[in-house]
């Protein structure tokens, strides 16, 4: 399959990329890892007139700790996230999620920025970012903006990024001691989109009371979904079979999956409940 004709630009600096985006407007798309965009172009679901390849721009690929946050450059490949010692130290959830994103060759190319900017509720990082309360940094013609993750996903393939914006970094607050996280998605085969997926991060204090909970769901809503009622069902209480069951029940009620080849609405709601239980237990088990 061959994409429609397009022009190709490969800017060497961020400023150059932003001015190219300004110049071409709606006709341009940013090419990062390319493993969502190129397949869409080959199928002619997308036919941008210009591709702006940001892979040659320095300074967009890093994983670093700074002032209580971990900063991940948008061009950081999934494989780098999978093997990062810094991320393993604070966020065991990243080893879970990256291992389930496509396959090793795709993870050698796919980037975390592209995964989020694509705005696909079936992608895995959005739910993780909701659970971790991340902030998305966008750089555009008018400078740098910080977008809280809860204000980032708008609709089907739509995000808060405006034309001329480039997603440049993700910032994640480092959680306090007593925090654990986990992600799992139910998939039919390696590389498939999730039937349902669930990301959990929990903080539990010395008395066993849950002081913070972040729960994100994959592919059971038009946009990546925060399971807000489930979080509230855990916060301020000890993690018990009862509180977990309540969190699971709320999530399966609050999601909006569509029936498709991966399963019926009812089945997916059931899976969400099961995944919440398992991921809360796994996150709790990982608290040191």
């Amino acid at each position: 399959m061959i994409a429609q004709q397009f022009d190709y630009e490969s800017p060497g600096t961020l400023a150059e990329a932003i001015s190219l985006l300004q110049k071409y407007g709606d006709d341009a798309k940013i090419l990062s890892g390319g493993h969502s965009l190129i397949p869409m172009m080959k199928l002619r679901f997308a036919s941008p007139e210009v591709l702006i390849d940001i892979n040659g721009i320095p300074g967009l690929s890093h994983i670093a700790e700074e002032a209580g946050t971990v900063k991940i450059g948008a061009l950081t490949r999934e494989v780098e996230i999978e093997h990062s010692d810094l991320l393993k130290k604070y966020f065991p959830i990243f080893a879970d999620v990256t291992k389930q994103i496509a396959d090793p060759q795709v993870r050698n190319r796919g980037t975390i920025g592209g995964n989020l900017a694509h705005g696909d509720a079936a992608n895995d990082h959005p739910a993780v970012m909701l659970a971790l309360n991340a902030t998305v940094i966008a750089t555009g013609f008018n400078g740098v903006r910080s977008i809280p993750i809860d204000e980032f996903f708008f609709g089907f393939y739509q995000t808060a990024l405006q034309h001329g914006d480039i997603l440049t970094e993700i910032q994640i607050p480092i959680p306090p001691e007593g925090t654990g996280s986990a992600y799992h998605k139910l998939e039919r085969k390696v590389g498939d989109y999730a039937t349902a997926g669930c990301a959990v991060q929990l903080t539990v204090d010395g008395n066993g009371i849950c002081t913070a909970a972040g729960i994100g769901l994959t592919n059971v809503n038009a946009t990546p979904l925060r399971a807000a009622r489930s979080e509230q069902a855990l916060i301020g209480k000890p993690i018990t079979a009862e509180t977990i069951a309540e969190a699971a029940k709320f999530a399966s009620e609050d999601c909006n999956p569509s029936s498709d080849l991966r399963g019926s609405d009812e089945y997916k709601r059931h899976c969400v409940g099961v995944l919440i239980k398992r991921m809360v237990l796994l996150a709790q088990e990982r608290i040191k």
Binding site: A102, Q105, V190
Partner: protein, 168 residues
Amino acid sequence: MLKQIKLTVNGQEHSLEVEPRLLLVHLIRENLTLTGTHIGCDTSSCGACTILMDGKSVKSCTILAVQANGKSIQTIEGLAPEGGPLHPLQDGFKENHGLQCGFCTPGMIMRSVELLENNKNPTEDDIRWGISGNLCRCTGYNNIVKSIEWAAAKMRGEETPSTEPQFV
């Protein structure tokens, strides 16, 4: 609008003018006539088009040729010198019946090159996860896993495991 690109393929430099929409796999197969790299699904699922780009295994059906500008590419043809001894992975697949129709084999081997580069002593589980982006519809994978284990042993300089068939 044609773009001028320069890349190294199996140690040889090439300079070409290409359309931006040309896929890397088409450049390799059609412009350079290196047809060892196969096109299976053309949707980045099957791994038959796997090559190494700057040492990383990638699916060349989902990379534009222009993105390979300045890069070093290795294909199955570049793994062993013409007429010389085979690469241990090629030997492994040959000795252990790691292929039947052979269509997936170049991709399996190129993926396994990076796998063994990163992990000299992989477990069976490491290998199965490691080739999870490569599909084989003939073998049932058991002999592919055996072939990679065999090659890993050979590359570590150990005695290679028996190639007698195992019935499972």
